[in-house]
């Protein structure tokens, strides 16, 4: 919808409101960046400034010295990559069936997807903790990846079902008429058309796993196994005694991958996923 004619004062009010939103959305993030580049002297100042007078990279260096950030980033990368890949590989065929066949299974799966969004994680993590403990998979990335895969499946399925439905059925039928079997049709006709949707789904699964905190906190015990969000909390130390500079620097770095990926796929996600969540 485009705007209907609005009075000049109405326009001014709209811009003022937009400005307020911009400030609200931007200021904590700008403050994080500002803090990350400040030397200790400025961080200790009772009159903090927006722009560092004497910007420095020391905080970044110190952050890597204080905590095993590289190891943590590597752990996060492995867990998120593995979870995203496995989730997409196993979800795509199921999503295909759910989109193309109306069966009791599809109904049950859809119900499960809704319910799994609503359950308090504590009800799932306690049994998972006990199961993984019996399998000696506590404090291993493998155990965490298993949990992430299942945790990523609901929205992966749901995004993919939407993408499959967008592929015209006639194309598949044409291939079938030409004598291609089901698998052949899937691989040579449907899959290429689905590829962008599959990539978007995988990237989204990657970000959610990269950002995840609760499961990682419960399942990973030793610093060399922990993922980035868990290691970040070590910077906080005891009751508020945080080293602000390195804390801000590390937090800023941890955000960059998700921000970049999200900027790339944002359109696809907002178009497909959220629209699907709230309207039928």
């Amino acid at each position: 919808m485009t705007a209907l004619r609005t009075s000049r004062s109405g326009r001014a009010g709209q811009y003022l409101a937009l400005l307020c939103y911009l400030v609200f959305l931007a200021f904590p993030f700008l403050w994080l960046i500002s803090t990350a580049f400040k030397p200790p002297r400025e961080l200790g100042s009772l009159h903090p400034t927006w722009i560092p007078e004497d910007p420095t990279l020391d905080n970044f260096r110190q952050a890597f010295d204080e905590q095993p950030l590289l190891q943590a980033a590597a752990n996060s990368l492995i867990a998120a990559l593995a979870a995203a890949l496995i989730a997409v590989v196993i979800a795509t065929p199921m999503a295909y069936v759910m989109a193309r066949h109306r069966s009791k299974l599809s109904t049950a799966a859809t119900g499960w997807v809704v319910v799994s969004q609503a359950f308090p994680f504590v009800l799932v993590i306690i049994p998972l903790f006990l199961i993984l403990k019996n399998l000696h998979l506590i404090n291993t990335l493998f155990g965490l990846i298993m949990v992430y895969v299942v945790w990523a499946l609901p929205f992966a399925l749901w995004m993919l079902v939407g993408y499959v439905r967008a592929v015209p059925r006639e194309l598949e039928e044409a291939a079938a008429v030409d004598g291609a079997g089901r698998l052949r049709t899937l691989v040579s006709v449907t899959a290429p058309l689905l590829a962008p949707g599959i990539v978007a789904t995988a990237l989204f699964a990657f970000i959610t796993a990269w950002n995840e905190f609760f499961f990682a906190l419960v399942l990973l015990k030793t610093p060399e196994k922990q993922t980035l969000p868990v290691v970040l909390t070590h910077f906080l130390g005891a009751e508020g005694a945080a080293d602000l500079g390195p804390l801000a620097a590390a937090a800023f770095l941890a955000t960059l991958p998700s921000l970049v990926i999200f900027a790339i796929i944002q359109k696809r996600i907002t178009g497909g996923m959220l629209a699907g969540a709230v309207k039928s």
Binding site: S103, A118, V278
Partner: protein
């Protein structure tokens, strides 16, 4: 970050439906072959643990217990009924969920209406709205701790600059802690809500607005008679979802205050987490989870009603 729930219904009849599901009662062997790789992990690692989790609520399961776990009926729930700390946290959880979801809805609706206009800098707002969405919750919390920092934080400095006093220790003050974390919750969830509402707005037919404008309806009237009726199902669904996600949230408040000061921000999830993984009371914590489910079920029902209504209208 919480992800949203799925679409189950088909697209509205007004749109062409290229991928319309064909009614098939039974899956053939080929279909089962495609379904099993996802179905098995779902059953083993999600549905199974969920049922196991519910059953744990009726046992005395504890960490590091040598004797076998015993079935104790509803004893955990009876204890829970008298656990004033839990009910405090339950009350705080409700306050937090309402305190975040409602203002978030109002603000997001305003923003969505603005972004639906032909304004310059609209793209900038859309770009900025990505930030809270893409950030790890832990980083969001750390970022706001820097903002709220009593000495080196920008909030108190701004208050001092404006001559409004010395500012305060927001996150550790008994009265200010909960409002302070609620503001962070609102900030963190704005983008999802805004985008959902924007999608709803873009679904309302423009011709209706024009017709209403021709009839002399002002902006408020057009909103009330044209925009709102079309948006209502979406609004109901997204608010119910927000409530559920917020009621279940953990990371944000864990990093901001860890439930302090004096339990003033101890959400039910934080309480259950401590009970399970600090004190090892698995059965008791599972019972807490079950009680949380009861509240969530009400909201889930609301959400489903909203979705069904949304399906009817188009």
């Amino acid at each position: 970050m919480a992800s949203a729930a799925p679409r189950s219904g088909e697209p509205g009849p007004s749109r062409p439906r290229p991928g319309k599901p064909r009614p098939v009662r039974h899956l053939d062997h080929g279909a089962w072959f495609l379904v099993l790789p996802a179905l098995i992990p779902i059953l083993v690692l999600s549905v199974g643990p969920l049922l196991y989790g519910i059953s744990l609520a009726f046992t005395d399961s504890q960490a590091g217990r040598t004797e076998p776990t015993e079935w104790i009926g509803t004893l955990n729930f009876q204890d829970l009924a008298h656990d004033t700390l839990f009910w405090d946290s339950f009350r705080i959880g409700l306050l937090w969920a309402v305190g975040v979801s409602v203002p978030q809805f109002v603000l997001a609706l305003g923003l969505a209406l603005l972004l639906n206009q032909n304004l310059r800098f609209r793209w900038l707002t859309r770009a900025l709205a990505i930030i809270p969405w893409a950030m790890p919750e832990v980083v969001v919390a750390i970022m706001w701790r820097l903002v709220y920092n009593p000495d080196a934080g920008i909030l108190n400095e701004t208050i001092r600059d404006l001559g409004l006093g010395d500012g305060r220790d927001w996150l550790t003050g008994l009265a200010t802690a909960l409002p302070a974390v609620i503001v962070v919750g609102i900030w963190a969830g704005m983008p999802q809500t805004t985008v959902a509402l924007l999608a709803g707005l873009q679904n309302t037919p423009y011709e209706l607005h024009e017709a209403a404008a021709l009839d002399g309806a002002g902006a408020w009237r057009r909103f009330r008679t044209v925009t709102w009726p079309a948006l209502k199902p979406v609004a109901l669904a997204i608010t119910a979802l927000n409530f559920i996600w917020n009621f279940n949230s953990f990371a944000l408040v864990y990093v901001l205050t860890n439930g302090g000061p004096g339990g003033r921000t101890r959400l039910p999830m934080l309480f259950a987490y401590e009970e399970a993984f600090r004190y090892g009371q698995f059965g008791y914590a599972a019972a807490m989870g079950c009680v949380m489910v009861a509240v969530i079920s009400v909201m889930l029902a609301l959400y489903l009603v909203g979705r069904l209504k949304g399906g009817d209208e188009k």
